[in-house]
Amino acid sequence: MLLIYCPYCEVERPELEFRCGGEAHIARPTDPSTQSDEQWADFLYMRTNTKGIYAERWRHIHGCGRFFNALRETVGDKFLKVYKTGEPKPDLDAIAKEASR
């Protein structure tokens, strides 16, 4: 069971309080009608599914209820960074470098 830092509650809590919301930074197009079928399929279904550092969404559903984003290394399941919704996607390469140090 993972231990996850909630950036709003500012505490670490067990995974039981959280729901994973899948890959982060897949914004819903502001005007879906301009999307081709391919683009819409990409939005709906295609996922990076990274083996390595992955940006994903979590919701502290049994806590403050907020969504936030996290970078997690998907082989060891270690969290490298947690950040609030709306904050830009961190530079994954820089994080990777830092993590390997």
Binding site: M1, L2, L3, P14, R19, G21, A27, R28, D31, P32, S33, Q35, D37, W40, F43, L44, R57, R59, I61, G65, R66, F67, G76, D77, K78, T85, G86
Partner: protein
């Protein structure tokens, strides 16, 4: 005292407390402090089980949780628990144990014929045969294999014991309480850190409990243990957990422990749980799991009486039991010598010490010499004698050319030691990678992957002084890492129990016919050195293949005893370095762990929360029947006067259409959407338009996913410009709420709107039927109920029975209907008031089944019944629910995808059977032909089907390809008993004009 092998003094037992127990029906005695194994040995019983495959007689091999042979069933409370290790079962008065995997008895087991047939049963034999004739596999071969397999008999009665659960957090978790673990706990506790110390044994101390002459701070090892435990238990920041096995090491230092609470008691208080799961989150973990001794792989190394040397020493020093009167010691390392010396000092004859090393240390030789013990160096065991107990052994001299016979030795027990294997299981579970230590000749933990450190023998550190030092250091460092605090603890000084040298891996050389003898690598699974070699010969070059092909390492000790020997044999056969063959990873649990520990309190009503509505007690009193809908108990129907479901539902339906009915709709999800952008938000979520909905009005809302498929629906009422009362399906409530939160927080954070779940704020009584208004009118205040002032699809606030209410005029029956939302605590009162009131109007209470029939008569869909996640609004004839001029809503783009606008999609239609009495089965398929050949594609399927008592015939809804173009056409519903003819109709069966809702 009738225990002939019990010593007269010493050990951690109380000779004054005699205990009686049974083994295979035979009454025996032991003493308090015994394990079942030590008590059996005290009685001279070595034969305790039969092996898995060959049914060979087997004895007690170890004194710990890694025991592969002495697996017994324990009878307790009228049922048996199989496969318990006699070495771990604490003796209590009246204990009943039975041996396993033998018929008819342990002494005479017909299965032993397998031993004679063993040439036919090499590793993997079953992959090569039993294939012909085909039908024999299911009927003959497999049943025989299955009957032969398995160890103990499974429990057959439901388990009435309880199990507990506890979440715990600590700064430092110390696993194991030998010298390293105790020192670590002492050092960590001194800093004030929160410490948990657990040990799988009944008593703390680990190897110190079987020390004979070592001292710590001038005290005997056991005195030092007692003092240390006393000091730890006096501290508030320390939790001591004996009989507690750390069995799983998960991500982020989450460690699961199983505490055995009552199993060692003869008559435990029934209020106590049998076992307890501890789910520990530790900032730092110190693994001090020790090391276990390795068996030597020589021919016939499995006879009862053959035991690991340290186990022999433990039985002597800790339990006061001599494993024999005339003991042969075979070893490749120093520590076994100490066992021989201790036994000799207790008056046991040592037949010989056979050390396969040419030159053991002079110190050992001189001690042996002083005790007059015969020593054979450069000498291995090449075979043993005796059937149910070892009676002698063949010695062989190892020379450069091979092995030559060195005579026979008589003995009644044989202690062996192939050296020590650090217990790296938990380290491996923590995802650490073990590394090969050439000096020690074993794997040891590599770099920590989590906040963990291995200390003492499990890290390959031996000798009492060094182990203590490692423990102190680990405890201190762990506490500092966890809390930043340090403290100086005076370190105890140890004398004696120095580290030994030596050790051997793999099969020992011998002069016997290799094809005839069996030298066991994995005792429990009957895997021999030959099997491992055969696997390699057949192309199994990865240790995982070897393991799976031979089953070595897959027994209940998970290979803790066998892995290194198997690996060495494979390595030799392959001509590859051992490290290139690979090491299999250790999996949780560390030792077998009771299912009840995992399930603990999740049973019966606590298996999952039982959610009840305010009418629940009334329904129970009035004999209503419930159905499970998610976690909710909903009333299904209300039988009266012995009605069956059919009769009850028919009566309920007719009554609602004729007069009035009362229904508990409290489980429907309710969400309050509040804020200036509330209408805009709903506009984006639902297919329908909301901005122009007037205050006080309701509208049916349809919710899609982004793929364009229906996922939920419900009525939404506008309470104020900036406030909506949204309802959802019962099952969809949580998902809809979460979906809305997702869009609000992550896609449209700029919207000024918030959502709050009010599902449980309100109890909802639905009053439906022509007399609905008359029923509720006496209780309503502040709302004009007249049709003009409060037409169909209205909502208003007022009071009901004197309590605040939200009254909605809506209908899921097609009749005049109201839904009374009252604050939940008043729900029971309002329900009971209405239940009484409807009686005055010849009304009825009704349940979900009647609700389903009534709505089906009107062609209203139920999400999850008419729809299945692949259905669009157009498919169910609800294109009208899609706002024509909306810029966007969830699912709008999805709806335009090619397959969702393709011709020939399934569409919702009504079906009427040609024979009005025949009720179709829900889920039945619809075809064009009456007798379609197998493999025919269905035209559709029946989604809802009921007998409509109001119409006096059956009705059905179905999803049928191009259904709306088939009105009046005949289709077929093929059933096993023949096809049923149906006519395609529209979906409304009752009140097609829809006037009744306006009553």
């Amino acid at each position: 005292m009738s225990q002939p092998f019990r010593t007269h003094s010493g050990g951690r037992i109380d000779r004054n407390k005699q205990l009686t127990f049974q083994f295979d029906g035979e009454e025996l005695t032991g003493v308090e402090g015994d394990t079942l194994a030590s008590a059996l040995l005290a009685n001279g019983r070595h034969l305790v089980g039969r092996s898995f495959k060959y049914h060979r007689p087997r004895g007690i091999l170890t004194a710990g949780s890694e025991e592969p042979n002495a697996l017994v069933g324990i009878y307790r409370k009228g049922d048996q628990t199989p496969n318990l290790r006699a070495t771990q079962v604490e003796l209590y008065d009246g204990l009943k144990a039975i041996s396993q995997n033998r018929f008819p008895s342990l002494d005479f087991d017909v299965g032993a014929v397998n031993d004679l047939l063993s040439p036919l049963f090499p590793a993997g034999f079953y992959y090569k045969t039993f294939m012909w004739p085909r039908a024999f596999w299911d009927r003959v071969y497999e049943p025989i294999i299955r009957a032969a397999a398995g160890l103990g008999k499974p429990p057959i009665n439901p388990d009435h014991d309880t199990y507990g659960n506890l979440y715990a957090h600590c700064d430092v978790l110390v696993i194991g309480s030998g010298p390293a673990g105790l020192a670590a706990a002492l050092a960590a506790a001194e800093t004030g850190a929160r410490v948990i110390l657990c040990d799988e044994q009944s008593e703390f101390g680990g190897s110190l409990l079987s020390e004979s002459d070592a001292t710590i701070d001038g005290k005997s090892a056991t005195e030092w243990v007692e003092d240390s435990i006393r000091s730890l238990s006096a501290k508030d920041n320390v939790t001591l957990l004996p009989r507690t096995t750390a069995f799983g090491y998960f991500a982020q230092n989450f460690v699961s422990l199983a505490e055995r609470v009552t199993e060692h008691m003869a008559d435990p208080d029934p209020a106590l749980p049998r076992e307890r799961l501890w789910q520990v989150r530790a900032k730092e973990v110190v693994i001090a799991a020790g090391a276990i001794e390795r068996p030597m792989v020589f021919p016939e190394n499995d006879r009862p009486g053959i035991m690991l040397a340290d186990a022999g020493r433990t039985y002597l020093n800790r339990y006061g039991v001599k494993v024999g009167d005339n003991v042969l010691v075979a070893t490749a390392c120093d520590t076994a010598w100490q066992a021989a010396f201790d036994l000799a000092d207790r008056g046991v004859d040592i037949a010989a010490i056979a050390d396969m090393r040419e030159k053991p240390s002079e110190a050992l030789l001189s001690v042996a010499h002083a005790r007059g013990i015969r020593v054979e160096t450069g000498c291995v065991i090449t075979g043993t004698q005796g059937r149910k107990r070892v009676s002698g052994a063949l010695l062989g001299r190892v020379t450069s050319g091979g092995v030559t016979s060195a005579g026979e030795v008589t003995c009644d027990a044989l202690l062996m030691s192939g050296g020590w294997t650090p217990t790296v299981s938990l380290y491996s579970q923590s995802r650490g990678k073990v590394v090969w230590d050439d000096t020690l000749g074993t794997f040891v933990p590599g770099a920590p992957v989590q906040n963990e450190r291995s200390a003492g023998a499990c890290a390959g550190v031996y000798g009492l002084s060094a182990t203590l030092e490692a423990g102190y250091n680990a405890g201190e460092q762990a506490a500092k890492a966890a809390t930043g605090k340090t403290a100086k603890l005076a370190r105890a000084e140890a004398n004696g129990a120095d580290a030994g040298n030596g050790g051997i891996l793999g099969a020992l050389p011998h002069d016997r016919n290799a094809s005839k003898v069996k030298a066991f690598v994995d005792y429990q699974n009957d895997v021999t050195a030959k099997d491992v070699k055969l696997a390699v010969r057949e192309g199994m070059h990865s240790i995982e293949h070897i393991k799976r092909y031979t089953t070595t390492g897959m027994a209940t000790d998970q290979g803790r005893l066998s892995n290194l020997n198997a690996l060495q044999i494979a390595s030799t056969s392959l001509g590859k370095p051992l490290t290139d063959v690979g090491l299999t990873t250790f999996r949780q649990p560390y030792t077998p762990t009771t299912f009840g520990v995992f399930a603990n309190v999740s049973r019966g009503d606590f298996f999952d929360p039982v959610r009840r509505t305010p009418s629940h007690d009334w329904v129970v009193e009035n004999d209503g029947v419930f159905e499970d809908v998610g976690q909710w108990k909903r009333t299904w129907y209300f039988p009266i006067n012995g009605e069956d479901m059919h009769a009850a539902v028919a009566r309920e339906c007719e009554t609602v259409r004729k007069s009035v009915g009362l229904f508990d709709a409290s489980t429907l999800g309710k969400i309050e959407v509040v804020g200036p952008d509330a209408a805009e938000f709903l506009e984006r979520m639902y297919t329908n338009p909301w901005k122009k909905l007037g205050v006080g009005r309701c509208r049916y809302g349809l919710l899609l996913n982004e793929a364009g498929f229906i996922i939920d629906d419900g009525v939404i009422g506008r309470l104020a410009e900036d406030r909506f009362h949204v309802t959802t399906t019962t099952g969809g409530a949580a998902h809809v709420f979460a979906t809305m939160e997702d869009y609000l927080q992550t896609e449209w954070p700029d919207l000024n709107v918030w959502i709050t779940s009010t599902t449980e704020q309100y109890a909802v009584c639905a009053v439906q039927g022509p007399k609905a208004r008359e029923v509720i009118a006496p209780f309503v205040e502040g709302i004009d109920l007249s049709p003009d002032a409060f037409p169909h699809m209205s909502v208003a606030t007022g009071t009901f029975c004197g309590v605040p209410c939200r009254l909605m005029r809506i209908s899921f029956t097609g009749e005049l209907g109201f839904e009374v939302n009252i604050p939940r605590r008043h729900g029971k009162m309002v329900w009971e008031t209405l239940a009484k009131e409807i009686e005055k109007h010849d009304g009825t209470v009704y349940g979900t089944e009647t609700m389903h029939v009534l709505r089906a008569e009107k062609g209203y869909i139920i999400v999850g019944q008419e729809t299945d996640g692949t259905v669009t609004p157009h498919d169910v004839g609800m294109s009208w629910a899609i706002g024509k001029n909306k810029f966007d809503f969830v699912g709008k783009r999805g709806l335009q995808r090619p397959d969702l606008v393709a011709e020939g999609r399934k569409q919702l239609v009504g079906l009427l059977t040609k024979d009005p009495k025949v009720v179709l089965e829900e889920g039945a398929q619809v075809t064009k032909l009456a007798n379609p050949p197998a493999g025919t594609s269905a035209e559709g399927h029946v989604t809802s089907s009921y007998h409509s008592s109001v119409l006096g015939r059956s009705i059905a809804l179905a999803m049928v390809k191009g259904g709306r173009d088939l009105m009046g056409k005949t289709l077929h519903v093929p059933m096993p008993s023949g096809a049923i003819e149906v006519e395609v109709t529209d979906t409304i069966f009752v009140d097609k004009e829809g006037g009744r809702v306006n009553g």
